[in-house]
Amino acid sequence: QVSAALKEGHVSPRELCRRCLALIKSTRFLNAYITVAEETALRQAEESEERYKRGQPLGVLDGIPVAVKDNFNTAGIETTCASNMLKGYISPYNATVVQKLLDQGAVLLGKTNLDEFAMGSGSTDGVFGPVRNPWSYSRQYKEKSVPKSHSEDKESNWVITGGSSGGSAAAVSSFTCFAALGSDTGGSTRNPAAHCGVVGLKPTYGLISRHGLIPLVNSMDVPGILTRCVDDAAVVLGSLAGHDPKDSTTVQDNFKPFELPDLPDVSKLCIGIPKEYQAPGLSSEILALWSKAADLFKNAGAKVTEVSLPHTRYSIVCYHVLCTAEVASNMARFDGLEYGHRSEMNRSTESMYAATRREGFNDVVRGRILAGNYFLLKQNYENYFIKAQKVRRLIASDFVKVFGSGVDVLLTPTTLSHAVPYLEFIKEDNRTRSAQDDILTQAANMAGLPAINVPTALSERGLPIGLQFIGRSFQEKQLLTVAKWFEKQVKFPMIQLEEVKRHNHDVFQHQKSASFS
């Protein structure tokens, strides 16, 4: 809708950009952005405006403000991965996905906050501080929350965004941009999407280029898309997907961008409900919602069946071995010599390396590097790494079997519960939290399958709950069609944030689903 508005001149790209920038400023307490690229954004908006004036917009995304997670390289704009190691690092090139967005005329507002090097499930462990979930400040949440004591500052009761793409999710959720890029390795796009009430899409591995995405786990990472509605996700996907010669892990097949049907029909589909996803710790609210969702499909004529993915319970452990091993490898390049932080220590090269890496990385990163190196030692390789690879294959086969038996899409919860307050979240360490929170999202990364979080309803405390759909490899169209149908059914409410109302915009008002397409 915004795009149409831009086309028809109801609003100008510059105006749009300015409003978003202003909103970013007034929602600074969310800490969603690490870097705001005000000047370049305004310039891009101006250029976009020129194009619209000439009647030659580059496409649907022309003039649309977007944000990008700070682990994507952006030329000329600082890229930090929320780490001391890369503070002040200005990349000389754009990640392929960033370049594609810019080529479409999108306006890059800034880089969003994350857990350091994308390791975490809360967006709480970056050097720039934690990201606050916009819903913490929503009317819906405030109405439902009961202060424990009258002196308790509502400030301290804010809830986390989930992670690790929390900044991007918060940015989209608080209307400061229309779409954002995240990354998804174990659920890092879908998890915060669920907690922040936005759509989070994890595409099939190999569909979108990883070139320029600072790698966490090369064999599982994918760029993630966060938007306010499923149609928007489809549009962004259309502009990003496709083979990249600079990324040998992207598939060669031609990708055809698609549009979703206005009235999706799910009656001919088979929805699978994997029983293992009724994980311990799953809140009763979410369980109930899940069940209601299944009923929705049944009533629409779809076939809904229970299925089994027996190796699900091994996925977290398997993930830990493979993830830490790749992390150890990928982090080896941060030695302070070529770029990034360099320690003052210069007694010897080795001591400089050690000091640099100790200073540059936080505990979480260092912990994973050490674990990963342990698993890669010659004496351990067979028992850990190779075994984990085999288990991974089993997990992937589970899905192949299920999809092969006639199931089109799987329906599962995305998270175990709604967003928890920050103070509670930090009571457990990063590793424990990740192990708990990744459990529902992680397997899709193992198997490389596409998955999407669709905001479903608000919890009793007024916080978003989302449900997840997992689709067949490269069947994003079918996946998104189902997701769109579901979205239309549940009519998830719009966040009621004061700040957004203040920067009220015709366009924002018109939208029930706040989309831009």
């Binding site: 892990t249 490898s329 080896a332 010659k378």
Partner: protein, 406 residues
């Protein structure tokens, strides 16, 4: 992203060395920290390299006589593709190390030979032949001094009948000549060490060309665990041949082994055989021709333009021209005497217009590169052979008379 040219070069080299080309090969990361390794790991092919089990034939002169050439073979264990690291330049005076990263990441082809050679001479001959092959294929210009071909020698000694001894690795060898020296020195050193009751350490040593010996290298690591891991960003490398190539595959996207095989140029051994057959020269002549860049072309050009038999031409090329070039440290390309001039000269000789002594004089003049033709020089210096019988008699008589007068 994998460099296609590197893959093709590796396949070509593998085929030239009689290797089996692995239709599927894999890439791995080898991790260690060093200033010249910016990623903290090197991409290599540890599990399944691109080519295995080949052989390289080379020739040696028995007892230093060119006329008795012996053919030897060394087995090729494997050829693998890997990344180069940067270059470290140690500045000991300022106690610092400078790192040049320009070549980091560039593709390398590592050819691993089995320990089938027994002395410096054999090692040198084998590497020389490899060098020629690489140059012929175009895989590499293989100039050692430029670092285009780097050789590390692994040397061990053992008593006949006993298993191979502990080996040392010798690095920093910058020419074929030094290779022979380094190997021979190391063999000697190890023998002496063992005969004195010592042991050989499995270490890395550097060849010091000035002193002609090997010294232990600065300790890079203790026992290193490289923590090998499959390279996640490079899918397995699949090569095809005519049989396995899918019908609708884009030719640009794949590397076809048979296609490459059909286009392999003549290898040095083949070239030599052809030269011997076509021109009737001796095998050792063919070696000498191929050993000098451009000499074969020169020779063939001269042969084309003269009626002198190749068997005679070869003498002039190898003994006279080549020694001139060597004396003045010139390459064939830099020769002031072109093949045309050479041919002219040899024609005069063939037609018996000058003697061979005279021809050598003319050549000395030609060497100055003043642009005169052989004919001009002959006329200038009055070097023509006198054919007239009478004239000759007169000269002889004059000489005899002259003698009598003394």
């Amino acid at each position: 992203v994998l460099n296609r040219r590197c893959v093709e070069a590796a396949v070509m080299t593998g085929l030239a060395l009689n290797c089996s080309i692995n239709k599927k090969s894999l890439f791995d990361r080898k991790h260690y920290f060093y200033a010249d390794l910016p990623a903290g790991y090197q991409i290599t092919q540890q599990r399944v390299p691109i080519a295995v089990n080949g052989s390289l034939s080379y020739s040696l002169c028995k007892d230093n006589k060119m006329s008795q050439m012996v053919t030897k073979t060394v087995r090729i264990k494997q050829i693998q593709l890997e990344q180069d690291s940067g270059k470290s330049l140690h500045d000991d005076t300022r106690n610092q190390t400078l790192v040049d990263l320009n070549r980091a990441g560039v593709g390398l082809m590592e050819v691993v030979m089995e320990p089938d050679m027994c002395c410096g001479e054999e090692a040198a001959a084998a590497v020389r032949e490899l060098q020629l092959i690489l140059q012929t294929l175009g895989s590499s210009q293989a100039v050692m001094a430029e670092g285009q071909l780097r050789v590390d020698a692994n040397v061990s000694v053992h008593h006949p009948g006993e298993p191979y001894g502990v080996r040392t690795e010798v690095k920093n060898i910058n020419s074929i000549r030094f290779l022979a020296k380094a190997v021979d020195y190391e063999i000697q050193r190890q023998i002496e060490e063992l005969e004195n009751g010592g042991t050989i350490l499995n270490e890395t040593r550097a060849f010091d060309s000035k002193l002609g010996c090997t010294v232990p290298m600065r300790d890079k690591e203790g026992k290193q665990d490289y923590r090998f891991m499959p390279e996640p960003n490079l899918p397995p490398l699949i090569l095809y041949d005519a049989k396995s190539l899918p019908a609708n595959m884009n030719h640009q996207q794949v590397v076809n082994i048979d296609w490459i095989n059909e286009r392999l140029p003549d290898l040095p051994s083949v070239k030599r055989a052809k030269l011997v057959e076509r021109y009737g020269i001796l095998p050792e002549h063919s070696f000498a021709l191929l050993n000098e860049d451009g000499l074969t072309e020169f020779f063939e050009n001269v042969v084309k333009q003269t009626r002198m038999k190749p068997k005679k031409v070869i003498g002039w090329i190898l003994n006279v021209l080549l020694s001139y070039l060597k004396q003045h440290s010139l390459t064939v390309k830099e020769s002031p005497v072109s093949s045309v001039l050479m041919a002219d000269l040899l024609n005069l000789l063939e037609k018996k217009e000058i003697s061979s002594t005279a021809a050598k004089q003319v050549l000395a003049e030609l060497w100055k590169g003043e642009g005169k033709t052989p004919l001009e020089i002959v006329k200038e210096k009055k070097l023509e052979l006198i054919q007239d019988q009478e004239e000759l008699e007169q000269i002889c008589q004059a000489v005899i008379d002259g003698q009598e007068n003394e």
